[in-house]
Structure formats: C-alpha cells, structure tokens
C-alpha cells in the first residue's frame, strides 16, 4: 500500500488522436515541476462521484512539466471514460494522483520488443521514448484496425522512426507473432492491449521465461468457472478474525470493521490494496503481483483464500 498525493491539474491541451480517443496534456497550475515517473507508470484520475480510473502516462518521462494521457471512450466500460469525454475540455480541472508504476521497463535487455494493441499504446509509447533516449535497440509493433483508428500514431512515428511496424487489420495485416523469433536471453518483450492479442502472442511464446515477457492487461482475468467461497481472515497484530462471505471482498469486510484501507481500481489491476499475508492458501486472481511476490503478498480487492488466511495487518 502506498499513499499518493492527489493534485488538481489543469487540462492544457486536449485533442482527438483517433475518433474515440482523447489525448490530454495536464499541467499543475502552481508548480512547474510534477512528481517524477518512469515509463510504464499510470496515474489515477478521480471522477466527481469518487470513482477512480487508471490511465498510463504516454508522454516523455524526462518532461516533468506535464503529464500526457489518452482516454478511449469505452461504450461498454464502467463509465469513467464517458465522463472524461463528455466533461473534460481545455482549462478543466482534473484530479490526478502522483504516478505509480506497476509495469516498469527494466534495463536488462540488449534488445526490446514492444507490442501494443489499440489504446494499449500508452505505456509503450513512454517506453519507446525512454529506450530511444538511452540509445537501446527496440522494435515497436502497433496493432490497430487502420491508421485512422490508431491513437498517437503521429507521435509514435516521430519517436520510433524505422523501428515502427504497423499492423492494420483492415489492410489485411494482422500481427504475426512469428516475427518475434525464437527466445534469446537478451530480448525483453513488453505488451499491452486487448486480451485477444495478448493471448495470441503469449501462446506463441512457449519457451520464453517470465523474466523476459512483461504484460499489462486492461481488465482482470475473467474466469466464469470461478465460484467464490466464504473464508475467514485473521489480523496478525490483534488476532481478530472476520468472516468474508462469498459475495464480499476482504477489502469490503475490513472496511465494515472500520479499517481504513486504500484502494483504487478494485479489480486487481492497480496494486493500491496490496497487503502481506502469513499463512493460508491464497487464490490470487489479480493481474499485478509478480509470481515472485505471491507467496507473501496479496490484493485485498480480488484475492481470496481457501478456509482462512492471516494478514500482516
């Protein structure tokens, strides 16, 4: 759990970068320098009704004067993007958190392959900028329906030059995972996009270890066969035990008992409600914790347990 400062930023520029995608530049009305961030980071945008939505920063991490985000209007989404499209304009105030990075770009690679689908370009555009600044070798594969429907394509062309490979399905070009080639230890792959694209790429990467493949998802894994069961949660510090019913999360139950827990997306993506645990068989269900951390960390919003779990609280 990490608390982050919330700032009232001003929308300095807003434009459509694709028919359904707004590109926003946000500045601080009083401070010339915003909190620093690294490629892959996101900010929380707070809506007037208290809901929070995460958007990856797509600008240049070296430019501390502004944050850039792109918001796709999701007609079947949870309402955050529609609010942004209908309400934000030049001069608007946007309540934005300091950045957090759940999808950091490592420096282990000799060569990087970035694969973006549609609006999934946002964290990867920031990564391309960083790789370019540091003079690393990279290839950028951008998968959309057409060049007209490709958000931030103009900017991506400038940043990537000849390292950019566009796959426009309306032109009959669908991403061909075989272009990735066989596993080499010096190659790092970063992907962000719709589940279908991620699934097809991942299924072609047999033999690639987790250390070389990095994925940011838009939505939690939907598993229709998962049936939540009730379980007990115990607090290590006080020994108090609470029942978590099948239709409630640990986060809900802790809040019912007046524990102030921070959270944000509440669908296992953002990492706000990360918590340590001591014993118990945990069913993780989140998309943010790396395998290496799952033996003693969980996400209170979506993780569950078989029978019981003891939290480091």
């Amino acid at each position: 759990m990490t608390a982050r400062l919330i700032m009232k930023l001003r929308v300095e520029n807003i434009r459509h970068t694709a028919p359904e995608v707004l590109h926003l530049e946000l500045v601080h009305p009083q401070r010339p320098v915003l909190p620093e961030w690294t490629a892959g980071a996101h900010v929380d945008l707070r809506l007037p009704d208290g809901r929070i939505r995460q958007y990856s920063l797509c600008g240049d991490p070296l430019d501390r004067s502004r944050y850039e985000i792109a918001i796709k209007r999701e007609m079947n989404g949870r309402g955050g993007s529609i609010w942004a499209h209908e309400n934000l304009q030049e001069g608007s105030e946007a309540h934005v958190s300091a950045p957090r990075n759940n999808f950091p770009l490592n420096n282990k690679g000799e060569r990087y392959i970035l694969i973006a689908g549609g609006i999934g370009i946002t964290p990867l555009l920031a990564m391309a900028r960083s790789l370019r600044h540091s003079g690393r070798e990279f290839a950028f594969h951008y998968c959309t329906r057409s060049n007209v429907e490709a958000p931030l394509l103009d900017e991506l062309v400038k940043v990537c030059g000849e390292n950019l490979h566009c796959w426009f399905s309306k032109e009959g070009k669908r991403f061909e995972p075989s272009v990735i080639g066989p596993y080499t230890s010096g190659t790092q792959i970063y992907m962000c996009g719709p589940q279908g694209l991620l699934d097809s790429v991942v299924s072609s990467l047999s033999g690639w270890p987790d250390d070389n493949v990095h994925i940011e998802a838009f939505q939690m894994t939907s598993d229709e066969n998962f049936k939540p069961e009730p379980f007990e949660v115990t607090l290590a510090s006080t020994g108090e035990t609470f029942l978590v019913p099948a239709d409630k999360s640990m986060l809900d139950v802790l809040r019912q008992h007046d524990f102030l827990m921070s959270s944000s997306c509440e669908i296992g993506l953002c990492g706000s409600c990360e918590c340590g645990y001591r014993d118990g068989v945990v069913i993780h269900r989140d998309k943010v914790l790396p395998t290496s951390k799952r033996q003693d960390r969980l996400m209170l919003c979506v993780s569950r347990a078989r029978v019981s779990v003891t939290l480091e609280l």
Partner: protein, 194 residues
Amino acid sequence: MNFYSTPKMPPTMTEAFEHPAGSVAAKSAGGATHWLGKLLHIHIAPSASYEMEELQEAQCIAGRGIMGDRYYNGTGTYSPKPDVREVTLFEQEVLDALSRNDPPMQNGSIVLEPKDHRRNLTVVGVPLNHLVGRRFRVGEVVLRGGRLNFPCKYLEELLGAPVFLPLYNRSGLNCSIEIGGILRPGDQIELLDS
C-alpha cells in the same frame, strides 16, 4: 582500573548560541512562557491525500475546524477516528532544522515546504511541545493544545521522503478551537492564562 581513556586534549565544545539552531533562536524572543509567535502560512486540503492549498484568510469554526479542510469536511485520512484534529500546527523551526539535516538521521538534508507537512498552520516562535493543555491565541482565534502530533508513515509515502524518524517529537500540535474567527498569515500568537 581506568574504565575511561583520557584524551590528550580537552574536548572542543560548540558554544550554544553559535550552534546553527541556537544562533538563530537566540536572536528572537522565546522561552516556554514569555514568547510571542507569528502565523506564517495557512494550508488546507479538501480531502485525504489531496495537495495542501495555501489560504490568505481562513475561517475557524469552534468545535469543528478550518472551513474547507478535510478534517472540517470529515474526509481526512483519520476522520473516522475520534481525535483532536480541528486545527494542526507545525513549527517553521523544524522545517529549518530538516533543511540543515539536524539531527543527521537520514542521508542528507530534507527540504520540506510549508505545504508538505500537511498541518494547517505553520508558525514561528511558538514552543508547540509546551502547549499541550494550554490555551493560546492566534489573531482573534483561541486554540487549546490537545496532544502532540505524531509522524505517520502515510506522510512519508505521500511525500516520497523519509520524514518519519526526523519528525519524531517535533511533528506539531493538534488543537481544538475554543473561540472561532478569521486567521491570516502574520497574525500574532501568544499564550493565554489557562
């Protein structure tokens, strides 16, 4: 048997009023009773985690807080827990000490601005640690010192700076408002008879 080795030279001492802290304090009025302080800055935040915003004028409501502040609104991080949180004060002298890396409890000096410590009033020349259980006046407003503030990890996370240990025992004062009114930077602060 001599437990203590004797140095060849007598120890070198810094004269109290030449120390970076003492030299500054010695030039201004002070002490636990005959002090006269000044309000430097007023800050509020509308809700938990929001950046503090500076005010040139603030309305204090007895029994409630500073109008517009998260603890007035009931939207502060600690609002659900009953506590003395109508107004919080912080000493400018502590900010000065941190920027001198005094005491050297971290890797170097920490430059905090008055908006960073997240207490409402930044004051100078006021011995906050001596005002628990005391009444004092800030301009036209009368405050009662309730308890010393305690640093929290939450502040450290928000600031991204290791301020928890350096703020130990100098993290400010939590007060109730006995008589409300308007506060402005520059207001004088003085002890009242309890």
